[in-house]
Symmetry: C2
Subunit: 372 residues, 2 copies
Amino acid sequence: MHIPAAFNPPSRLLLGPGPSDVAPSVLRAMAQPLVGHLDPSFVKMMEEIKAMLRAIFLTKNDMTFPVSGTGSAGMEFCCANLIEPGDEVIIGVNGVFGTRMCDVAERCGAKVTKVESAWGTIITPQQIADALKKVSKPKFVALVHAETSTGALTPVEEISKIARAADALFLLDTVTSLAGCPVRLDDWQVDAVYSGTQKCLSCPPGLSPVSLSPRATEVATKRKSKVQSWYLDVNLLSSYWGQERVYHHTAPITMNYGLHEALRLALAEGLESRWKRHEQNYLLLKQGLAELGLEIVSQAGHQLWQLNAIGVPAGVDELAVRKQLLADYNIEIGAGLGPLKGKIWRIGLMGEASKRENVATVLDALKKILKR
Amino acid sequence: MHIPAAFNPPSRLLLGPGPSDVAPSVLRAMAQPLVGHLDPSFVKMMEEIKAMLRAIFLTKNDMTFPVSGTGSAGMEFCCANLIEPGDEVIIGVNGVFGTRMCDVAERCGAKVTKVESAWGTIITPQQIADALKKVSKPKFVALVHAETSTGALTPVEEISKIARAADALFLLDTVTSLAGCPVRLDDWQVDAVYSGTQKCLSCPPGLSPVSLSPRATEVATKRKSKVQSWYLDVNLLSSYWGQERVYHHTAPITMNYGLHEALRLALAEGLESRWKRHEQNYLLLKQGLAELGLEIVSQAGHQLWQLNAIGVPAGVDELAVRKQLLADYNIEIGAGLGPLKGKIWRIGLMGEASKRENVATVLDALKKILKR
């Protein structure tokens, strides 16, 4: 066959819903030669990754490690390990990822009670409390903390308490929130959590950091039926990521090099500083958008700092603007999904990409394209 | 917390069961900045990856792409998409990976008939024919082509014909065989196949190339029940890897950069030349081992070129030798698993690592350590 030329990616500024721009030292880390997945040096690095993930998640959970797949694999990890066929679960649905979680949970055999809010708004404690009245034995209550598809951040502390009072586990999707705004597993008593590497951690996609509380770990290890996914079975994975180092699958070595470095950078910056930086650049963007007559359309008071849903003005061709941003300015932003398709743009300011100069760059480009 | 130092991997020669050594240009490709997973440049590269995978698998199968997980995720992809609860399947078991496939298939709801051979030997057509007589409606017959745990290569052409005559699909694990010895999907009428990137393709672990024949694709798309894994559902994945480019999960961008380059290198060398190189270095190793009084213990006439199971001589401490190879020579080789634990060493000569000089290096080190 004709062999294609070597791939030379164009130089983009990634201001979409992820992946986000990656720090040069993360890319350099990933270019290092391989070692084996049971090499003593790699095993030591695994321990460091686990410790750093605990620091990032603000948890003492022993069962904290990266699953060898993207964020959606982490979602499936949590559902497959906690759900046994026939279990009842309650899932907040206010965007793509809550919708997805219902599908995943049903494939695991769960009876799903959906708690729905309009896309762009949050799920309230009252909604969850009402749903719990209708469910006899809820296995877990699940929420998407930061809905990447809508830009809304649902406060979770009170919902977690309500779930616990009903003897349900509390499961949280932190794919977009982690390292971009406060995520406090232990303070909030989150029992099961998954995230992604390609959002505010600014590592390429390919791993999903997860963490299970002792309560959730007990559920997963004492279940009656086998976990339906061998690849994601925490009972097997914990033997590799734990002290026994039993071979399960071949860990993605290079991805772990990248995650190790990305976690180092996040912790060196400091979580509080990192959150503050995301907030400040969100405020800058919001102000600049207002000056262009543009508006963030997700619920006021609950807008994400790292992902901004911007209303497309009447008469403007949504797709044409994104195409021009990419073609003429090398800037990637995201489209709306589902009911928001054609109605919003999504501008991400995640991790490395959350920078004052990036805010200026994208605002300037939008100003020129929209002739404002 | 105390932030760990940047990870600097030791410089190893990877002669174990995988990962294998990676070409410098693959590492350089992976250090390139990210683009989005729907970027036109990335979409074009995805098409090139699919075309190159077809060339490597020697197939015209449209449904050919890399699953976003390691080889075991590919195994689960094949089982989860083809099996519906209650289906009968026949699986050849002559090592770790056949054993694993039974577990995966059972978790998918299959009734599994195991066809067992001693570890280190092959599965024969007669064994499969006998098993088929006992199974009323077999969904598929599955084999591990190259058993990484034992070093045995099972010939598959005749077994494929027997499976087809019984109206069963034929599923093949090519994790270790692909790009190291002949794998001819279309000639052999293989219906479902998965592989890994970290063996004879010499790309870091993290993706699993898969391919489904039109027959298997029809089974997966016309099934009655939903695929139990959302992450691995080919009905969803094909909308992203196909022409529609519907967002499913965020593809591991960097891993695909690496795979693209690794496939280019394999095709530039030429499949026939690459197979020949693996054969020649196997013969060199075998001869050198014989001169040290060491022997490859897998079935004569069916030994893998890329993975050699070497009997540990009586009175020799298996683990001590491996530890010394790693500590004093920076050479990684593999241990025996299951019933072969402590009884064999596994020396891989895979992809980039299958080199005349590597054969000499490991033989020299063994000679010194064993004082032969």
